[in-house]
Symmetry: C2
């Protein structure tokens, strides 16, 4: 440890105490021997670390676990002093909120359904966020400890410090909402959040490299490489709606045309245009189309297959650039098992070997991901390594 720096305001824990706390955050309640063994710490060091963490209430004993033989082992978990985080998914149809401890014990959850689906983030969404956060803050219990971080998932690019904040529209979420003072605010793109959630709890659990591709009203990707979320210089990594399209000899690509072409609106328009007058009314939305296809409707199946090909070509381009080895499909269309085989076939025909899976988390992915990111932001603060 660097002993030249002045002691931080926070306790300045030893390395082993930090490791123990981190392990309790990540793995949940554990006994002392379990922690010691998994971190390679001796029993005296474990004693010291636990004592150090118990004083400020960062951990607390929650019981004893009896093995087949011998003395029972004390079990610990993250304590009240560690505080809690709040995670908000500021979506276009719902605003959902989770309050939880750093080891993800749910303290409060709220969902607000927006009266009409918003095209993109706006005042209305911001007001709903303000309302839900206020309600959650009002419901705060003393035994939750301090609020350590507030994470907000937004459907815009999120640029880091020094980036062009205005162009990204990321500030719109704050147009009618002021975060509580003194709390770390974590802003992240909703697709990136979903990728984080799939990495930790979903179809990509434990995978260091994969791409999460969301196929719905719009198309987007969250990229995880070397266990790092790839955001890009302008927060635009994964904005695959901007892939060059059309891209062929003699054709001029147009900016954002891929998004336009692959989005549900244009897709449905193509379906409608192709729908014979004598085949009943064309599907009004993708859910209807998928239902028809699922029931064996030949024309619906054909359109779904065509779209799977288009998505497959898109994913193949991504695979060619970063070769993630694994692609998780999510979003309204992407989650459908009807799309999966076509995408799989096309990707592996056009590009290098990549496993293609469907999301395991569905619409919950985003809020779970921003919760994870809020926790990861809070953790170094709590154990006093802000650098």
């Amino acid at each position: 440890m660097d002993q030249r720096l002045p002691a931080a305001a926070r306790p300045a824990l030893t390395g082993s105490a930090r490791a123990v706390f981190r392990r309790l955050v990540e793995e949940g309640p554990s006994t002392r021997p379990q922690i010691g063994q998994s971190l390679g710490l001796s029993r005296p060091t474990m004693s010291a670390a636990i004592a150090e963490l118990e004083k400020p209430g960062l951990v607390e004993m929650i019981g004893a676990v009896q093995g087949p033989l011998g003395r029972s082992a004390a079990q610990y978990r993250v304590g009240q002093g560690a505080g809690h985080v709040m995670a908000v998914d500021a979506g276009s149809t719902h605003v959902s909120l989770r309050v939880s401890t750093l080891d993800r014990r749910l303290l409060d959850a709220r969902v607000y359904r927006l009266p009409v689906s918003q095209i993109s983030i706006n005042d209305q969404v911001s007001r709903a966020v303000a309302q839900q956060v206020a309600a959650a803050l009002a419901a705060t219990q003393p035994d939750w400890g301090p609020l350590r971080a507030l994470g907000i998932a937004v459907p815009t690019r999120v640029v880091g410090p020094g980036g062009d904040v205005v162009a990204s529209r990321q500030e719109v979420v704050f147009s009618a909402f002021t975060p509580p003072p003194g709390v770390d605010v974590v802003l992240e793109n909703n697709v990136n959040c979903a990728a984080v959630a799939e990495r930790h709890y979903g179809a990509a659990r434990g995978e260091a490299n994969f791409a999460y591709v969301q196929v719905g009203v719009k198309i987007g990707m969250g990229l995880m490489l070397g266990d790092q979320l790839i955001r890009g210089r302008n927060g635009a990594a994964g904005e695959i709606g901007h892939l060059s399209f059309p891209f062929a000899p003699g054709l001029q690509p147009r900016p954002g045309e891929a998004e336009q072409y692959l989005g549900t609106e244009a897709f449905l328009a193509r379906v409608r245009a192709d729908w014979p007058a004598d085949a009943g009314t064309a599907p009004a939305d993708t859910a209807e189309l998928l239902a028809l296809a699922g029931a064996g409707h030949a024309l619906a199946l054909q359109h779904v297959a065509r779209h799977a090909d288009d998505i497959g070509a898109t994913v193949a381009s991504c695979v060619s650039v970063v070769d993630p080895g694994l692609v998780v499909l999510g979003g309204g269309l992407g989650a459908s098992p009807l799309l999966l085989p076509g995408v799989r076939e096309t990707v592996n025909r056009l590009s290098y070997a990549a496993e293609i899976r469907s999301t395991l988390l569905g619409a919950d992915a985003t809020v779970l991901g921003i919760e994870r990111l809020a926790i990861e932001t809070a953790l170094p603060r709590v154990i006093g390594q802000e650098a």
Copy 2:
């Protein structure tokens, strides 16, 4: 340090000694005060570290540097005991080789021009590698110390352990060449090597995120994100010749078609097809075409501009996937200043803000990059942290 592990065969240096050695490898000769200051080490610790490193000859004093006042400071550099590395670029027209110390003092350099340009890596190239390496080994001086690593840059995908080695053709370089026993061999794709070199010594010096795009006979990309070279599950990251192409409504993409279309051969074929009979003979290669364009030849300029657009669209797709913020162009065509403005314009029209620069290293990039990678492989070995 983990004291439970048995002492390694290697000296088992202290953390500070390792840091000092690393710093001498990376920054070249320095005085004790310089090193101590930049690493934040006290003078007693510096004394201990230097003493520790001098014993096995890992560092050596090379003189004293006099400041404006006070006692002169001892200057050190990496010593003989640290040994040296050998770097080979197994290219299609040349095999070039560099032997250097870990702090990049050149000990030997060889270039072998292949009798005919090889389409891809083959026996002939492998024999040339064997020959050059043998010559360099024969010329080894005792004061070079031990050979720590042998790096080879190859024009194929390079897959990690567990990957499909056969499909990547990476083993072809060993068809007629057996590396000296007991030496670490580092295999890396040549475009990735060039990216590494641009990162350390070229147009992307000090940049943690950028893409190096090589435009020549073939097209390829080396990707550096968060200061990590992105290789991909199958070593296929950056294989942008496999971007979906053609990619447009109603068209079927074909695997590898982008490479085919963007490569010099097809490009020149298009130029020739369009060349009027009364305009003299069409350019035989891209160098001729570039020369004509450079001299103001309207038709040549038009073709170069068209190709710049195509390359721009390709780069824009990459930017949409990873948003690197910086793209360095290299390769026979990519290095040309005639291409740069067109690429720049197209990329920024289609995608997010990205700076576009030309290579500063040209054809040397590959061998400098593989040298760097060999050094990075050797370093942890030498200071005994193989994990």
